[in-house]
């Protein structure tokens, strides 16, 4: 963890250093994804920068509409260029993906960077067998016979823990259980041995008992393939278990970024505090009320001026003047050193967290990390 703290330092101020090839596997710099609509430009993601290293996991956390999935779709180049404006840089293995042609990007998709989707039932084609879809994923990038691809698919299904893979390969997705479908999705994602794997809420649609199995599987496979993983979730429990680094997103922007343990034990941004306070405590006092974050996520068409979180922030009166209303804070290191950045005007967040917020936070989560 210690050596990691220094390398994971995100870009906080311009000019952004151009990452060398020996640096992170994936480097996202000042990524912006905007959707022009008839009502105006929806700024789904703005000024997003982060790094992911080989063998490491980045957890991206935030509520619905915070830009988590939009940014991952941008990394895969899945946005329709006619309806999307993307700017910034996305370096994967030293190549800026945003400068590639759609055909060059297509050749990398699924081979260098693969994705696992939230709901495996709807993410698999209902009319084709699981095997057909996995074999297809393999043969797009590998010029092999159907038979060889099938053997490879069976091998992968076996690896992700599908019993009798040589028989189940000919089943349709609806004949699989939810957990098995997600295992098959993982097999499909990893069949080309991608160096970068993005898991978009991989356990949200699953049973709680199955969730842990899938997370274990992902961790095992990550160790085996030494791939970099981005796990998108709104479940801080998943982050605590999986992630090395955490990026908290709000209204399309990174609001806090740093090593997982740091963020979970010493968060410095009121939005992160809110997320932590709203995790139920199953080990301690189960009758304790959860503390929700008041209000709703802002409109991405007309984000509030100043700090986008200020309308919902209960700590804004601790900032002198009208800074929160007028000036958008930069993503800067806080009280705890350069490895941990946050977008907030509060000058003494650690004290406020320790005295006002920590009593509300379920202790289990932090202990786990």
């Amino acid at each position: 963890m210690t050596s990691h703290d220094t390398t994971a330092s995100p870009a906080t101020s311009a000019p952004v250093p151009r990452p060398s090839s020996s640096d992170a596997l994936l480097s996202v710099r000042e990524l912006a994804v905007h959707f022009p609509t008839s009502d105006g430009v929806v700024k789904a993601v703005d000024g997003l920068s982060f790094d992911v290293h080989r063998g490491k996991t980045l957890g991206i956390v935030g509520e619905s509409g915070s830009g988590k999935s939009v940014s991952s779709a941008a990394i895969l180049g899945l946005h329709n260029p006619a309806r999307t404006r993307i700017s910034g840089e996305i370096y994967l293995n030293g190549v800026d993906l945003l400068t590639l042609s759609s055909e060059q990007m297509r050749k990398r998709r699924g081979r260098e960077v693969a994705m696992i989707f939230q709901d495996p039932l709807s993410a698999m084609h209902p009319y084709y067998t699981v095997g057909n879809q996995i074999i297809e994923a393999y043969r797009v990038h590998n010029d092999v016979s159907k038979k060889a691809a099938r053997e490879r698919a069976i091998e992968m299904l076996d690896r992700v823990g599908i019993p009798q893979p040589d028989r189940r390969i000919d089943d349709y997705p609806h004949q699989f259980s939810g957990g098995m479908r997600q295992r098959a999705m993982i097999a499909m994602g990893l069949i080309n041995d991608p160096s970068m794997l993005i898991a978009d809420e991989p356990t949200t649609a699953l049973d709680v008992t199955v969730q842990a199995q899938i997370l274990d599987l992902l961790q095992d496979l990550q160790r085996e393939f030494n791939s970099a993983v981005i796990i998108i979730t709104h479940d801080l429990g998943v982050v605590a278990e999986m992630a090395d680094d955490v990026l908290v997103m709000y209204a399309g922007r990174a609001v806090e970024y740093g090593p997982c343990k740091e963020i979970l034990t010493h968060p410095e941004m009121p939005y992160t505090w809110g997320l932590l306070s709203s995790v139920p405590d199953v080990k301690g006092d189960t009758s304790a009320r959860l503390v929700p974050i008041p209000g709703n996520p802002p409109s991405l068409l007309n984000p509030p001026p100043g700090c986008t979180f200020h309308p919902r922030c209960v700590h804004k009166d601790k900032v002198p003047g009208d800074l929160c209303w007028t000036v958008e804070p930069r993503l800067e290191p806080g009280q705890r050193g350069p490895g941990h950045t946050k977008r907030c005007h509060l000058t003494n967040p650690d004290d406020i967290y320790a005295t006002e917020v920590l009593p509300e936070v379920a202790p289990g989560l932090v202990e786990e990390s």
Binding site: G110, H125, Y128, V140
Partner: protein, 338 residues
């Protein structure tokens, strides 16, 4: 699967029997005296009574319905009189099984009349079907891919125009300009494959086929467009893209495959009802198909023929429903189990 097909066929047969009863009841609910029209123009009351007796119209409805069903299985005589059969067999019209009735006006069994008209309607339906399915799907997919552009609006708009114009207008228009004025094709005329060969048959059916196809195509263009667009928003299409599949493969293998299912249902039912005769088109082009036969039967108040054709049509639609449902199981694996 087999049990399912048997179940569907049995329920289909029951449905047809019920359908025949309903048709019979409707037949007698009409204020027309069938005997009067079966008997001809100069018909004395005595002769009218005789006809009524000969054709069995004096029996109660249910007895007649029973006789009709029996006739379908066994065949029947008109009039059904064993004594007359011995003394004067020439005055008896025999209708062999499956007997759908006897048209006194045409002096022929309904089955024979239908048999002559059916190939015409079937040919017309097949030619129209091929044109409208290929055109409808092709234009629908193009419109979906070019969604929101002038091409999309053009395709949807033009297909709507053809849909809005009455068939007799489009038919007469094509007839007048393409066949008569510009003479691009010969005057449309039905020639069976046995008589004139495949090419003559096809050329003869081109204009009426196109007339029908233009009408049906509008719906298929819009449906295909909608289904393809819908499938493009599905998660599994995003998965297909995330795999790095070529756009064309994503469209054909993933998107169009999903759009196919609802289209098969629609196409099956539309084809079935068209096989039962395209009334206006056949009349415009003077094709002696089932549609024209039905119009003639209705105009002459030839009730046995009307009943026969209605029943036949109902049978086609019921059969098509069964076929579509069975096909569905092959198209959609989720239907297969259970």
């Amino acid at each position: 699967m087999f049990a399912y097909i048997v179940r569907r066929v049995v329920s289909g047969i029951i449905l047809i029997i019920v359908m025949s009863l309903v048709t019979f009841l409707l037949f007698f609910a009409s204020p027309i005296d069938p005997a009067r029209f079966a008997c001809g123009k100069n018909c004395s009351p005595a002769l009218q009574e005789q006809t009524r007796k000969a054709l069995g119209y004096d029996d109660p409805v249910f007895v007649q319905w029973g006789d009709f069903l029996k006739g379908v299985v066994q065949g029947r005589d008109y009039p059904s009189d064993p004594a007359l059969r011995k003394t004067a067999p020439a005055t008896i019209a025999h209708c062999p099984a499956p007997c759908l009735g006897y048209s006194k006006l045409s002096n022929d069994t309904v089955l024979n009349l239908v048999k002559n008209a059916f190939p015409v309607s079937l040919s017309l339906a097949i030619v129209a079907f091929i044109i409208w399915i290929s055109g409808g799907i092709a234009f629908g997919v193009i419109a979906a891919l070019k969604k929101g552009t002038i091409i999309d609006r053009g395709i949807v708009g033009i297909s709507l125009v053809f849909f809005a114009f009455p068939t007799f207008f489009v038919g007469l228009f094509l007839y007048q300009f393409i066949a008569i004025q510009w003479q691009i094709v010969p005057i449309p005329n039905y020639v069976s494959i046995a008589d004139g060969g495949f090419f003559t048959w096809l050329v003869g059916l081109l204009l009426p086929g196109l007339t029908l196809a233009l009408f049906y195509m509008a719906g298929y263009v819009r449906m295909t467009r909608a289904f393809v667009l819908e499938s493009m928003g599905e998660d599994y299409l995003r998965t297909a893209n995330a795999k790095g599949l070529a756009p064309r493969k994503v469209l054909v293998k993933h998107s169009m495959r999903a759009a196919l299912t609802p289209l098969v249902t629609m196409a099956g039912l539309d084809l079935a009802s068209l096989v039962g005769g395209a009334i206006i088109t056949e009349t415009v082009f003077n094709y002696n198909g089932l549609g024209k036969l039905a119009v003639t039967a209705a105009r002459n108040l030839d009730l046995p023929l009307t009943v026969g054709i209605v029943l036949l049509l109902a049978t086609f639609v019921i059969m098509a429903n069964i076929i579509v449902d069975v096909l569905y199981a092959f198209i959609d694996p989720r239907v297969r189990v259970g």
